[in-house]
Symmetry: C3
Subunit: 363 residues, 3 copies
């Protein structure tokens, strides 16, 4: 952990310090947990009340912050306090470094695999024939890589990750524990009498472009033919499933337990919130945002925010959710209207043509 | 990759060739990606427009196909073009073969385990005491098999698959990376003051019958007593969860992220679409199809298609989804009707008996 | 498997025997599957009819059970038959014991790791520098533990489990195959032109308190700062996702495929049914029960049962689900009312002010 003066930190973050620049910080923490030698931040209004009570040496806030401040705390005003917090985290804590170096003799590296300088291979890693691994890449214990897979520079594959044959990873790709990349897609031709699901060879591969990060226990199918693609800079949380032949654009975010079926074409900068599901063979434009738990069943034009299952534009989904909670009241109102209308018709001597259209009975 | 003349391919597929039989193909590809030495297929109407523009040497189409054809492409008319495509994939690409052979000396094979002829065991595989492994079965690096588990012939277990003790796999079973078979079911008796969830020993096992295929990162609980069963020919996609004591019939399909709780009895040829959830202790008849994201809460008779959460027959679910999008309009209409009725009653000199039944307020 | 006389078993369970105390049982089974030397139980009314037909030597029932009994079966009346069944399972079947002992020479144990007496480490286990492992703990083949992680006494980590650095496990913690504990949380600051998701170092850790059990293929994020916490006695089924910085209380139950986002504060004795999703940064009080497939979007006070997406109190959710199935009928009723009202207004010579408020059209 680094030690940094507040004056240096403010300069590093491009922020304006209000407070004692000589004070030293050794880490970052939440507003509630921060100690006197730690820096904290306010990026979510929900936590604003904690700024007045924090013990943090300094709090990173927006340039226009005008709330209360704890008496012992400095402020560092920043254009983008969340990014400033990220920069402070990098300066104070840094990123994980592998605890192993070189090629462990207990690894199983095929003689035809080509490993660049500075590749780290831990014990119990298996690297198949014909693989290429770029400089600076680290393979944690238990990683298994099938034949002819190419991995770029400075990638990190954590323990028990499996990559099947012929896949392609760019540079700086990170994959967390127990994820599987390039297993067979769910492809069967149902045939015969009685019918049997006959497996279709999955002859394609998976391509993860530069700076992709994949969470733990994710599953990305190889394509039947050609590639399943995850575009540069796209990030997955955990337990995400991607079907065969799907193409994800660049800089998308997939939150935990999202699932996309096969042959989906997704643009750049899309966000799939937690537990969303996307049917196969549809197109999703750039910048689409899908609300948590939504089910997307048809093409979505660029820029739309959608929600619900089946998903509709978000304002419409919100109106529906709002109305949903009124449904029992609506039923009562309809019953009352029906009763009153009958009374009026009777009074007016009008004959009711269809008595049995009671909405409370199923057809 | 094989090389096949179009005339031979047509014969192999039982199809009728329209075009140059001497032309050679070396692989299969999608209509859009196919090169001049590749064959493609049309099984989904959605892609019909691509047939006119493909560079493929030939396109597998239905016998009655009458759409446009690219000038350079032959047609092969087939009764079942998707199955024909599957057959072409098998002929041209074939299935994955293990890149290792024999018993790797770095595997941990217990002395009491019995391995048949031709079993392939990669490095870092662990096989517990009393296991039996049938001829032709391949265990990829990192597979762990608990004591007394029996695995049939020609099975393939990919990297980092775990099978607990006493499980039974039939022949030609395939399990993809990071799946777990036979871990403890979720069984606790909550007891005491204050209450504690006391673990119930899970003394049963899991049985995967012949030709079962399990995707990546799936979890199939062992039964508390007796077996959790997956019937012959049933296929799982990824991230599927099966609870303890559930019996799945033969030739079912479970799409990604489907989950069945414990003690569910499922017939043959059922389809569980993506992200479906099934409560415990219910029965689902043969041939039931559950739409994506549905939640099934009670017994389902054979042959039914269901959808929604809680799930209802699919036509009913569709009517509900359709109506859902009209909910806000329905609310407006009810308000308007209420207003107008009041006006009429006033005009007719009728007294309103309950003023406060406004549907917009919660009770 | 033990052999126990029914008289001894009844005494052991604190139950009252009705039948032949000399009879011997060798195991437990379901009512339908039980053989003449097995004991069974009735805890779910659904299976009551099987008591009359079981071949079990004895059935554990509630003290006030007054249903039919098979002629060959004894009864053991118990205050809590499900807990009695659990005790019988423990007596007759016991818990799994590791099939390996000592430190396997093929394990990769860092020289600075401290392992207490009686720790079992299987082949292909990797233990990083600075780890501490308590007495009686078992690490199955393929377990990978990052640096400086502390694991208590009598824990069991099954095959291919990964634990990242600096995590803390209490005593008697159990983790099933392929789960990942302490991988990076989903934290990025989106910044720059064009915007890039800049990774935030995840400098925290995960703490699993005493008696926690985690199912297979679960993913628990490490916190950005401080700890992600799972309270003592809490149990997870499979494929559960927990976001960074979330604190789960004691004795909670998380059913398969439940997902909680980050920074959620959960009380004790909460139940999250299958496929529930919880948004980040909310508080959930003690004893809250969330119905299957629900989506929780805001704070929940202690003791509430909730359901639906967005989740509402369960009785309200049930009323809504009931009304949902009537939606198409409600639409028809509204149309009919609108028609009839128009007829009445016409008859009364009233003018319709807005013709176009037809609820069947979208706005």
């Amino acid at each position: 952990m680094a030690e940094i003066k507040l004056s240096e930190l403010a300069q590093m973050l491009g922020g304006t310090l209000e407070g004692d620049g000589e004070r030293i910080v050794r880490g970052a923490a939440t507003l509630e947990a921060a100690q006197a030698d730690q820096v904290s931040f306010l990026a979510n209004k929900r936590y604003e009340r904690h700024v007045a009570e924090t013990r943090a040496a300094a709090v990173l806030v927006a340039t226009d912050y005008n709330g209360a401040v704890a008496s012992g705390s400095a402020l560092i005003r920043c254009d983008d306090p969340y990014f400033a917090f990220r920069q402070a985290m990098v300066a104070l804590h840094g990123f994980r470094k592998p605890h192993f170096d070189g090629i462990d003799p207990r690894a199983d590296v095929h003689e035809t695999a080509r490993l660049a300088e500075g590749v780290r291979v831990a014990a119990f890693v298996s690297i198949g024939p014909g693989c290429e691994i770029g400089a600076g890449t680290s393979l944690y214990p238990g990683v298994c890589i099938g034949p002819d897979t190419r991995i770029g520079r400075d990638c990190t594959l954590y323990s028990n990750v499996t990559i099947y044959e012929k896949c392609v990873l760019g540079d700086r790709v990170t994959i967390h524990a127990s994820s599987s990349i390039g297993h067979d897609g769910f492809g069967y031709a149902t045939h015969g009498t009685p019918p049997v699901h006959e497996k279709i060879p999955q002859a394609g591969w998976v391509e993860l472009e530069d700076d992709v990060e994949i969470g733990a226990c994710c599953a990305i199918d190889r394509a039947t033919m050609g590639a399943t693609i995850v575009g540069a800079g796209t990030k997955f949380s955990n337990l995400v499933a991607i079907g065969h032949g799907t193409h994800l654009g660049k800089h998308c975010l997939l939150v935990a337990q999202a699932g996309l079926a096969g042959s989906v074409m997704v643009g750049d900068y899309c966000v799939f919130a937690g537990q969303t599901g996307i049917v196969g063979h549809i197109s999703i434009g750039d910048g689409v945002r899908v609300a948590a738990k939504s089910g997307v069943t048809s093409d979505v034009p660029a820029g739309l925010e959608i929600g619900g299952a089946p998903a509709v534009p978000l304002p419409e989904a919100r109106r529906t959710w709002m109305s949903l909670s009124r449904l029992p009241q609506m039923r009562s109102a309809i019953k009352k209207l029906t009763r009153e209308l009958a009374a009026i018709k009777k009074k007016l001597g009008m004959v009711d043509s269809d008595h049995d259209a009671d909405e409370t009975e199923r057809p």
